[in-house]
Structures are given as structure tokens and as C-alpha cells.
Symmetry: C2
Subunit: 189 residues, 2 copies
Amino acid sequence: MRELEERIRREGIVENGDVLKVDAFLNHQMDVGLFAAMGKEWARLFAGEGVNKVLTIEASGIGIACIAAQEFGVPVVFAKKSRTKNIAGDVYKVEVPSFTHGGVSTVIVSKRFLLPTDRLLLIDDFLANGAALEGLIALAEQAGAVVVGAGIAVEKAFQPGGERIRQKGVRVESLARIRSMEAGRIEFC
Amino acid sequence: MRELEERIRREGIVENGDVLKVDAFLNHQMDVGLFAAMGKEWARLFAGEGVNKVLTIEASGIGIACIAAQEFGVPVVFAKKSRTKNIAGDVYKVEVPSFTHGGVSTVIVSKRFLLPTDRLLLIDDFLANGAALEGLIALAEQAGAVVVGAGIAVEKAFQPGGERIRQKGVRVESLARIRSMEAGRIEFC
């Protein structure tokens, strides 16, 4: 998606070789006009797929997911991260390693909000090693829900997550796919 | 706001006397159509105030804030919670106690995204003891930004936060104000 690629080129900052900061418009300060354009693109790509719910993970997926969900006219559920292993109540849960913060989070969703009848669109801001997205897929599987596909804002295609998840048969639509960031220069696929 | 009150009456669950669960439509599963109606109401209430940015706090404020911000045509910044006291980089920060989870979070915003020229609308899902909202006000003060006011979805008016923050001169517009929840029965102001 050209609008997102141009924005990354203009305002993205490469740090330590493989960290891409897009916090000026995507995941700290958030350009909701850009999010609406992204939502429209996913609505076009997943038209006719019967998406009835968007599933995302806190925190930086939530804003993108909510605005995208408006385009589909469906509710959003966000999976919650917890450092506690003892989670009370009737939840689906999965362990997700964090590459940004280190350690492992237990990620949970209330069983009331993921149903076997659901046709889910998964939304997240980044796809790199794929841990968060695989966590969402695991939660959907526990619920017996159908994963229609995943809408990702920025995929670091030189990391293995996207390839591995597509090989499982999950449709992944990333609006910007980065091939390399060598010497701080961002190249798209 | 009648639509929100009716929804709370129909789907809100009172637990342990003073906990109100609205996770079916507000802060776990999220009804983005309801959020758009809430955003329109805040846009009406704060019309002409020159709001140029929405400031919220992760995680459950983010969805509401993003959809409300569309009505104002402005970006959103969300303050991030961290359990780490050693935060790297150029950030404003404040300590915020958590009544839900216990303990204290360090809440941060990058200095790049809060400016002395900003006229901020603060958005959050709940106002009870006021700790989170006071944290956002403190971050705005550090930046020298103007707080135009706060848009809250659900205020527990029987807890002291709203009263204390209004006494400081901050305009607080809560779309549903709960006077009492005795015996599980929700009464609005």
C-alpha cells in the first residue's frame, strides 16, 4: 500500500540495524486517517469472506483494529497480556514470548468473546518473528473459530514469521513488506 | 448519553459490590459503532475548543480514543505503561498506582509527541479513583500542553476521582455517571 510505504520512508527510523521505529504515526502517536485508509484496503482484500469479528492483541494493535473493524461493520476483541500465570475465570490462553521486552506474556481472551461460529480477521501493527500472530491463531483454534486471515500493517519480510505462518495456510495481507533495512535504508518487497 | 447507559444496564455486570464489568462492549470486546456515537457526543461537547490531539493510556482507552479522534480529525497519542523504572530515551513520565492489578506502573510518553502548543482532549474508558486520568494530566503539564478536558465513557461517581479532578478546574465529560451499584442494581446520576 503506497500511502503506508511512503509514510514509513518519510518518518520511519531504523535503529540498531533491525529495529524500525514508526512511533510517529503507527504505534505511539497514531494517524487515524492513515488507519482508515488501511482499513479500507483490508476490507477490499477480504471482501466476501464473511468476517464477523476482528481479533487483535494489546496494546498497539488496538487502534488499527478498531478503525479497520468500522470498515467491516464488526466488533473487535483484543487479547490481553498478563505477567501472571494464574488467570482467573473462563479464558482461552497462550504463552507468547516478547522480543521487544524479553520474557513471556500469558495472553488471554474471555471464552464469551471467541465462538466456534466466528470468522476472524486478525489485525496487528507488526509481523516479524510471528510470535504474537501465532498466539492469536492459537487462541482462535482453542475456540474452534475460523481464521479468515491476518491484516498486518508492517511486515519485516527478512524475519521468519510471515513465511512460517503462510506455510500453515493462513492468508496474511501485509500492507508494507520490508525486504531489508541495511545501512538504515528501507527497501520494500 | 442514553445509548451508553442503556447498554450498561443491559450488559453490565456488577461484581464484588463495586466492580462493574462492561467487557462485552467497552474494554475487551469493543462495539465500534457505539464508540462512534460516543465520539460524536464528545465532538459536540468540545466543539470550538481547538482540540488538536487526543491523549489516552493503554490499553482499554486506545480503541475509544482512536474512534473519537476521527470525529475531531486529529491524531491520538497513547501513554505506555511499564513495570520498568529505568526508561530509556526522551520521555515524560509519571508513576500511576493500579487499583485493578495492584502495584505501580511508570507511564511514559515520548517528548516528541506532546508539545507546548497542544490542546489535548484526554480520553479513557473508566474514571473511578482518578489515578490514570491524573497521570495523563501530569504528563500534559510536564509538556506545557493545555488540557481542554477529559472525555470519559463510564464514571463511578460514588468514587472520589471525578470530584477531585473537576475541583482542579479540569472539565470532565462522562457519558455515563453511575451514582450507585448497591445490591447489583445500577443507578445513574
